[in-house]
């Protein structure tokens, strides 16, 4: 029981990390608020489903196409909406939240809810780990999450584009004087974030089914991981993912499933109230509170 809970907590943490990575890249690392993140996740899942089931494309093709499409729509969203309110954090939030709301509610209106709306698993087998049956898909999730975190860390620390991502969050004007085209970098960051959302959807959705409500859940989970881990920190995402993942799984097992969401929400509130930049974030005291 305990060992099984531990295994599933680890998997849950990996899922949370996977879901939060794209949001962390756009909002945490480059400071561009994209609250349509959950909607992009759901949209790419539905897109993948449509191509798979209605156009009968192979799975890898539909997954790749949906990732590309998500990246393009992220870039377009930046060019036509975010660019005009760039720098006004609250307008960015309101505008992107509005976009996300519209996308999700369109899907809700279309009524695409049910068990048939899901994506296929990679391998439909399971193995026995520590007294619990774990299907391969979940192990794949853990591995991919690890690989992506490592990739993201390398990207934001050792490539010039990645360093530029961090640069525009730290000080956009100084970044400009170093010849960083902040609009181009911000476009890329929204686009990459959307792409990571689509990757997460391709891998995580096979465990459940696609539903418009997922969009709100994903947004809140990503926010939770990102805020607790700390804005601007890739390592923080891992730690926060593990904290929330374990806390959720253990409350689910020992207290009750109603309380799982409350735990992550309470964690966000606590961290926001005590240290708004998160556990591992670079503090910008006067910008966060006064």
């Amino acid at each position: 029981m305990f060992a099984g809970t531990l295994v599933f907590a680890l998997i849950n943490s990996s899922i949370l990390i996977l879901l939060a990575l794209g949001f962390n890249l756009t909002f945490g690392i480059s400071g561009v608020a994209n609250f349509a993140y959950g909607a992009l996740y759901v949209m790419s899942a539905y897109l993948s489903w449509t191509m798979l089931n209605l156009l009968h494309l192979p799975f890898w093709a539909s997954a790749a196409l949906s990732i590309v499409f998500a990246m393009i729509s992220g870039a377009l969203m930046y060019r036509f909406v975010l660019l005009r309110v760039r720098g006004q954090a609250l307008s960015e939030v309101i505008a992107t939240f509005g976009i996300g709301l519209s996308i999700l509610e369109v899907f809700r209106y279309l009524g695409l809810v049910g068990f048939e709306y899901t994506l296929p698993v990679f391998w439909n087998e399971s193995v026995m780990i520590a007294g619990a049956y774990v299907d391969i898909q979940r192990i794949v999730i853990v591995l991919i999450a690890l690989a992506l975190v490592l990739g993201l860390w390398l990207f934001t620390h050792f490539t010039s584009t990645g360093l530029a991502f961090r640069g525009i969050a730290q000080d956009e004007r100084t970044a400009l004087t170093f010849g960083i085209d902040s609009d181009r970098i911000a476009t890329l960051s929204v686009s990459f974030g959307a792409g990571l959302a689509a990757i997460a959807a391709t891998i995580v959705i096979p465990l459940g089914s696609i539903a418009p409500d997922e969009g709100y859940d994903v947004l809140i989970k990503a926010l939770a991981v990102c805020i607790i881990g700390g804005l601007g920190s890739t390592g923080g995402v891992i730690v926060a993912g593990i904290i929330i993942g374990f806390a959720e799984r253990f409350t689910d097992t020992y207290i009750g499933s109603h309380w799982t969401m409350i735990v992550s929400l309470a964690a966000i509130l606590l961290v926001l109230a005590i240290k708004p930049s998160g556990l591992f974030g670079h503090q910008k005291e006067l910008e966060e509170r006064i």
């Binding site: 509005g98 976009i99 709301l101 209106y109 929400l265 109230a273 708004p276 509170r289």
Partner: protein, 334 residues
């Protein structure tokens, strides 16, 4: 006889935007018209509306109150993404007082208004030091969490909610109660923001550090602004509880956060009148479009995007500007 065009406001606005020299009834009407007309419309309209549209009018007034409460916070530099917190708190307090303690509406509504506002202020007080987007995220999360807590602990009727509140005597009473409060809040707050007190609040929005430098305790002022705004929201909730005769988890729903924000954004922030105008436009429109169901929220979302990006000052500002630019033909003295 040659004529030329002259701005109507030229003779009236002698020195600045708000110093006037009125010499005739006509000039007085020029200033009073835009204020009296909506007030009169709100008070007289119930006589001409059918029962269904009277209910719509109640919705308009409630959402206008929530939008004004949003605008009040926005003018202090606090952006709330969770007006549902204020609404829901007022609704639950008055529902509980009515169901568990058997108090009549004319006691529960005032108590719920004040104590609901006080509870919301106390909840948000510890995070009031947070600025901008960090505070907004807290306000987004608190109502969501309250819903889950009610669901998990099953207090106050749990997922079923409480029903069977004492209704108000008649629809007419309902309409006039909420309309009079709306007009009082609208004109009262407009006046308040013109005073030195309002100046401090606006100063906090523009540059909180320099207000601190002036030796003013901005946390105390922010707390007061939060209390004013949450009291207005709590009144809306307490009132709606007795209209619907029901209180439950939907009072913390996203609708009560999104629609007021959309109304304030569409109408334009910073004037309160803009927020009211937004509610007057959006709520009847959403009623008329009831047939499209869930797509209404899509519409609000698109409104939010279009207005924040393309018309950030809102409709009211545009109308006000055009009103002051009105011209008339005058004869040229030879």
């Amino acid at each position: 006889m040659k004529k030329r065009r002259e701005r109507i406001d030229r003779g009236i606005k002698v020195r600045s935007e708000d110093v006037y020299a009125l010499v005739s009834w006509r000039e007085m009407l020029y200033l009073a018209g835009p204020r009296l007309l909506p007030a009169a419309a709100f008070l007289l309209l119930p006589f001409f509306l059918g029962p269904y549209w009277q209910k719509v009018m109640i919705s308009v007034a409630v959402f206008a109150l929530l939008a004004i409460s949003w605008d009040m916070l926005a003018q202090t530099g606090i952006i709330s993404l969770g007006q549902a917190l204020f609404f829901g708190m007022g609704a639950y307090v008055s529902g509980i007082l009515n169901i568990y303690f058997g108090m009549p509406p004319w006691i529960t509504i005032p108590i719920a208004t004040v104590s609901g506002g006080a509870i919301c202020t106390l909840i948000l007080r510890p995070v009031l030091r947070l600025r901008g987007i960090y505070f907004s995220m807290v306000t987004l999360i608190v109502p969501l969490m309250l819903v889950r807590i009610i669901e998990a602990t099953k207090i106050f009727g749990g997922t079923e909610g409480l029903s069977g509140m004492t209704p108000l005597p008649s629809t007419r009473v309902e309409i006039y109660l909420v309309t009079v409060v709306l007009l009082g809040v609208l004109f009262g707050l407009r006046r308040l923001m013109e005073t030195d007190y309002g100046l401090v609040l606006k100063g906090i929005r523009d540059n909180d550090r320099s207000v601190t430098n002036a030796g003013i305790n901005i946390y105390w002022f922010k707390t007061q602004a939060l209390f004013i705004a949450s009291t207005i929201g709590a009144f809306a909730g307490a009132f709606m509880t007795h209209v619907y005769m029901f209180v439950g988890m939907p009072v913390f729903a996203l609708d009560y956060s999104i629609l007021p924000m959309a109304a304030a954004v569409v109408g334009g922030g910073g004037t309160f009148a803009g927020a009211t105008l937004g509610a007057v436009i959006l709520v009847p429109m959403s009623e008329a479009l009831r047939g499209i169901g869930g797509l209404r929220i899509v519409m609000y979302g698109l409104f939010l995007v279009v207005f924040t990006v393309a018309i950030p000052e809102g409709l009211f500002d545009y109308i006000q500007r055009k009103y002051h630019q009105m011209e008339r033909w005058v004869e040229i003295d030879q």
